[in-house]
Subunit: 430 residues, 2 copies
């Protein structure tokens, strides 16, 4: 019998309790011992009672949990970066092992927590903090640990992926698709963290730290959300054989780490293009294994519970067979980070220009002067006497693109940069 | 320093040696110790010399390896089910841990090996035996171990997937696509094991044993290969919005296990449809996590080496931190297996019939009498005065389909069952 405590009483905690009960028999057979939830920490006891806990199991503060030597594993499902941090530290100091789903905490205060865990020889598992139930952390740190990674590319936010899927599938505007997402529970009342790309940025920072063995921060991630995407962009992309996805990318550039979250054109035949609705995926390129993709539900009570309980079972195996603390933090490299200007990619650009002589020449020259080679250029008239220029560049440095666009914005014949996205940044190996 | 020995000197062994050298520094940093190949067992010393080994490292028999207590891990890359079996047993009895890539051995003699490993508290890792470098075994046994699985669906053979991809992409006949595959090294001179579905069947038997915690055998897997697939089937599928893939499926049917390998219609929008060329993928449905897909290169020297060395590193962690034998065989259930007749699916049927009155009625009646409901039926004339009938059924039991087709083959107006495949068997959850 292995006693655990759960901190928190929300959706994920509810899923974890349900899963431990539902699959109790198989879980016990697989690890060789029963798992018992000895305590649950709840701000309001009624929530814990609603989950079926009795008064002797319900705590309103962490004291009894820290003090009880029988409690081996503490599952932190409170969220937030202050009380959760203090609670985890108290538990680690008391010799307990930690399983958490707390992405914000790992992204922002991971270093301190991993150091404290290592000091106490404790496990600190966080599979559930990125990608819900999809096995991501364990494959990166274990199955694939013989590889050097050159790039990881993710669709890591279910809200934005749902919105973009609906815009593409049903021709909805961004606002209508967001409203639908909120209605169906795929977006929150305040969707900012999702639609601005912040959620995805936190996740890619965590994954990049693992993939590149270097601690990197949220502030190192260039970030653009989906709020400026037009359904006309999506329709254009489809005609060209692409879909638009909000990609979270961490890539090695000359030994340094470049990270960004931004909408991008993905070829329809690429596996990432078929990742739809609220599904997530991580595409990884390792020097031995080549391209790998891990796909599944990135959020939700039961998928997240699957990751949490999977981690609890792993800690149980360590307790039973020995090996606690075997998977520590491996940020031994101190790679520098570089900014978005260093990104090398093809780009898709849509400009609104005056429909008169020499505009095309002027635009082409602005790119040429920056060394940006154009792969295709289409001009179409717009009803109001202006014209739209759609360009695809050959691979070029972002800095060169931005310089060219800045130059063009000075011209009186360019009224607007409608769209500027990277294209084929998720190129499959040959 | 952890000493290992490699048995075998072929493509995978070459990849393993190369990878251990190439990523030596990162591997050592990640596990905290160096890995040294102390011995290599080679039938001809020249092959080992070509890989850079010196005479004192090259063995022609397993004696020195078994006898040396410093050797902690033995990597079996010989293949085959006799000498490899004996070698592994000798090493396990001598207290060594095993990493293997030997699918045939695990599929056919796995039970004995796992029992012997458990008896000696030894690790027996086999990630590389299924799906090359794709993390599959570890996610199923660890990350996802809180789940009960209802179904696993794989594209597990790169040769056949390459052939089917080329037939679809380039309109090649089966024979031409096979020849191309052989030319490019994606198919062997004798491709039988691949194109008859045997390779995929072995793999799904291994995965089903894990997913359903029940030892199942190759002989329990219903098997159809790709040799009868027509490029006209593929073109028809495309027009209907499908692709044809050789699927390896293990599914729970009323508590029992049903397994098959057969060509099937997969909806173009399904993630499995975008698994092309020699890539493999495994689609898993777990009761907590929902749908997960793991995708990557299922074969090749370096991808397979990635899985082998990943396992070696895992055993090293166990040696260093404690925990050897932590991941044993978990076949605690003794589920029965059922045959293909119990499969419930939609089906695609193509019949060649005489073009005369009452044929359509007769065909419809044959299905109706078996309780098979038709979703769509298209009749088209063929140049020679016959007609082709293309039917899609609603979900029905395979037994009913086979009964209906057997009945129809008795009729003088039915000359041929051109095609009979399941359709939408890889249905995504809503």
């Amino acid at each position: 019998m292995i006693d655990i405590a759960i901190l928190g009483c929300g959706t994920v905690a509810s899923g974890v309790c349900r899963l431990l009960k539902q699959n109790h028999e198989d879980i016990a057979k697989r690890i060789g011992q029963d798992i018992r939830i000895r305590y649950i920490l709840a701000r309001t006891p009624q929530k814990a009672q609603a989950l079926g806990f009795s008064d002797d199991q319900i705590c309103s503060d962490i004291g009894p949990i820290v003090a009880d030597p029988q409690i081996k594993i503490v599952v932190e499902l409170m969220g937030g970066t202050t009380t959760a941090f203090d609670s985890i530290c108290a538990c680690l100091r008391a010799g307990k092992h930690i399983v958490t789903a707390n992405k914000d905490l790992i992204a922002e205060r991971g270093r301190e927590l991993f150091e404290l865990a290592a000091k106490h020889g404790a496990d600190l598992c966080f599979e559930a903090s990125v990608g819900g139930g999809i096995p991501i952390i364990q494959p990166l740190k274990q199955s694939l640990s013989a590889n050097r990674f050159s790039e990881i590319i993710g669709i890591l936010n279910g809200t934005t992926n749902f919105i973009l899927t609906k815009m593409a599938a049903e021709g909805l505007s961004y606002d209508r698709a967001l409203a639908l997402a909120q209605e169906l529970g795929f977006a929150e009342a305040n969707p900012e963290s999702d639609v601005m790309g912040t959620d995805a940025a936190r996740k890619i920072a965590i994954l990049a730290s693992i993939a590149f063995n270097s601690r990197v921060a949220l502030s190192d991630v260039y970030k653009e959300g989906i709020t400026e995407i037009d359904d006309s962009d999506i329709a254009l992309a489809r005609r060209m054989g692409y879909v638009i996805k909000l990609l979270a990318v961490a890539r090695e550039v000359e030994g340094k780490v470049l990270m960004f979250v931004r909408p991008a054109f993905v070829a329809a035949a690429h596996p990432l293009a078929s990742v739809n609705d609220s599904f997530n995926a991580l595409f990884v390129h390792g020097d031995a294994v080549g391209d790998i993709m891990l796909y599944g539900r990135g959020a939700g009570s039961m998928p997240t519970a699957s990751a949490v309980v999977g981690d609890v079972m792993e800690v149980c195996r360590n307790l039973i067979h020995g090996g606690c603390g075997r998977m520590g933090c491996e940020c031994y490299a101190q790679r520098e980070v570089v900014g978005i200007d260093e990104l090398e990619s093809s780009f898709f650009v849509r400009l609104r220009v005056s429909d008169r002589p020499n505009v095309l020449a002027g635009v082409a020259r602005a790119f040429g002067e920056q060394g940006v080679s154009l792969s295709s250029l289409v001009q179409s008239p717009v009803r109001d006497g202006t014209a739209e220029l759609i360009l695809i560049t050959h691979p070029a440095r972002e800095r060169a693109l931005r310089n060219a666009l800045a130059e063009l914005m000075q011209k009186d014949y360019v009224s607007r940069i409608h769209t500027f996205m990277c294209l084929d940044v998720a190129d499959e190996e040959e």
